[in-house]
């Protein structure tokens, strides 16, 4: 059941720890979004792992974003630790008190200040605190959450997608993107995404995404499940992004809502059985009901 690596530890453990420490037991306030927000609803959807894989695949298509990761991050040594750090950041900003969210953003900005260099492929200089790159990362995530939640999560009500995009503006602003650059509606988001140039699947991007889709050392049964999940993420990519990677279109039956939810359900169950996960989810649920 548990997605064990061969050394007998759950690879989801760092993610579980990230969730349980990101969701406060006695929050000082309702944070940036609050329990009634669409953000709270979508960020605890069980389909979130698929959205995360899709986000990474889109984000990696910007060569300068990818160069920053490839040249400065230790993701290859500790991929799940890296993923857990990102996930912990998203969850803290979502469910944490305002001061915690702002502190987390300050730490990210401090790290970003040192991430700069020149991309091998395009020959262009980059800097991680460049609002243009930050905006790409933000937009790829927001687009992925909306797309995946609608297809595989609890369905979105009319207007939810627009509300989500608009609610997420402060999420972008606290990492240093000027507010007037951030898309505030689905329409603006779509326009922005299609306006970005330079996108390509560099060798670094292919390498990293290959790793995400088939992490080493998973036990054989879990490996199948994870690969299936990767196929689902590929199936939700826009056509242009899929073509850049050269991935074939996954079979339709692998993308059916019921099948995908079953797959996600199995993964989610092993996640939820890790210490602290259920309790964190219950804290969120109780605040949303209050």
């Amino acid at each position: 059941m548990e997605p064990l690596t061969r050394d007998g530890l759950s690879p989801l453990k760092p993610l579980a720890d990230a969730l349980s420490s990101a969701v406060p037991e006695h929050p000082a306030d309702d944070g940036l979004f609050g329990p009634r927000s669409v953000v709270w609803r979508l960020h605890r959807d069980r389909s979130f792992p698929v959205a995360a894989i899709r986000s990474l695949m889109l984000q990696a298509l910007h060569p300068l974003t990818m160069a920053g990761v490839a040249q400065h991050s230790d993701w290859r040594r500790d991929p799940l630790g890296r993923l857990a750090a990102t996930s912990g950041y998203v969850l803290t900003v979502t469910y944490g008190a305002r001061a915690d969210a702002e502190a987390a953003a300050r730490r990210v900005r401090a790290v970003h200040r040192h991430v700069r260099g020149v991309d091998d492929v395009t020959g262009l200089p980059y800097s991680a605190d460049d609002p243009a790159l930050l905006l790409w990362v933000h937009a790829a995530m927001v687009d992925s959450v909306v797309c995946v939640a609608d297809r595989y999560g609890r369905r979105l009500e009319p207007g939810d997608a627009d509300r989500y995009v608009a609610e997420m503006v402060p999420f972008a602003v606290i990492v240093g993107i000027p507010e007037d650059l951030v898309p505030g509606s689905v329409r603006e988001l779509t326009d922005y995404l299609s306006s970005v140039g330079l996108l390509q699947a560099t060798p670094a991007a292919r390498d990293a995404i290959g790793f995400v889709l088939d992490p080493p050392d998973l036990d054989p049964d879990m490996r199948e499940t994870w690969r299936d999940l990767g196929q689902v993420a590929i199936g939700t990519l826009p056509e242009w992004a899929r073509s850049l990677y050269g991935f074939p279109v996954p079979p339709t039956e692998a993308l059916e809502r019921v099948t995908v939810r079953q797959l996600v359900g199995v993964l989610d169950l092993s996640f939820e059985s890790l210490p602290g996960v259920l309790e964190a989810r219950q804290r969120i649920e109780l605040r949303m009901r209050a």
Partner: protein, 461 residues
Amino acid sequence: MSGAVPRSRAARAAALARLVLRIGGRYAARSPQLIFASVDRRRELRHDLALRSAEEVAEELGAMKGALMKLGQMASYIDEGVPEEFRATMARLQRDAPPMSAGLAAAVVAEELGDTPEGAFGRWDPLPFAAASIGQVHRAITRDGRAVAVKVQYPGIGESIEADVRNVALLRRIARMAFPGLETSALVDELRDRLREEVDYALEAEHQQLFADYYEGHPVIHVPRVVPELSTRRVLTSELVPGSRFEDVLGWDQRERDLAAETIHRFVFRGLYRLHAFNGDPHPGNYLFHGRGRVTFLDFGLTKRFTANDLAPLEDAARYIAVERDGAGFRAALERAGFLQPGAPVATELVVDHLGAFYNTVLRDGPLTITPEYASALVRRFFDTRSPIAPYSNIPRAYVVLQRISLGLYGVLGSLRATGNWRRIAEEIWPFTNGPPSTPIGEAEARWRALRGEAPLGRSA
């Protein structure tokens, strides 16, 4: 009770017989209000997290979780062979399943019975007192004054389980993770059938009533009667029975525990050999104890019925190994049942040694204590993929539930550290031995059989 004077075996047996004889008016005339009030909530359900809509049910229990719960139930009887993480996941899933809100449960009742719960029943407790694997149980008093337990199914769970069992590939993958080393395709096929049956409370009601009718008037075995006019596919109403839980019984004195164990043992053996029906759920939560060996059996959602043909090779196997001591006959019976490949290149002594282990409790005439260690060892043997006969042995589909129950049964008897002459009890029930009553409960049971006009069992009869 614990007299300082050591008593002889005969005196002790006589005292037991008197106890059993007093059973007569066991469920005598308690008012429904008293019964209603005495059934307490088994554990704190998280009403603050109650599911308020079918959509929330789908989110919490749909998408494979229902199927996994069932698989987890299978795993929960078994101490060994199941990875700890899987066990923890399943235990958690069963323990923490949130209840339905009062409104949602009422909506299901209204859809099924065509009236509000308060209208359909005279009195209705909107808070469930127990969780069931795909529903929850409410206390109520019917309009004609009977205290009842009403099991209400989560809305939409039937559809989602139906979708889950169609995803055979994923089920097999999970079963491989849950039961490494076990041939899982038969297990998964059986799981699918049982899941489909379990969502049909009408079928469960039929099975429960089969057992209730059969055990009518039995001195120590009680099965709550179904109230058919208040039961449907998603609502099952039956007699409400107060009693002690398994956890309580573990604190009772050993004699009481032995009596309870004897009754459970009789229930399983008698069900199989006389009723040809096995209640597939030896979960400790499915028993209520009333002292002096009296036990109420709950939850018939996983009942397996056997044909005479299904049973014949099993009867033969038991007879050859336990009575005739004929290893070759035992082996041939197992081959007929499909447990062992015919002509497998292993010595018959080895077959007897390995597969005969399951009959250990009934091999010898004499008192035997079933310990948790014994139960674990049995399961270890069952899951031992390195045994020399493992490549040639298998559990045919018709017996998967049977196997589960046997393992679960020993788990329950082991927890009770029960002592009994299991062989003598088996002989009372085996159709091929037709033995005399061997205990006070056996005596009382013989009188019950005579009263209901049941012909003695057995071929010679």
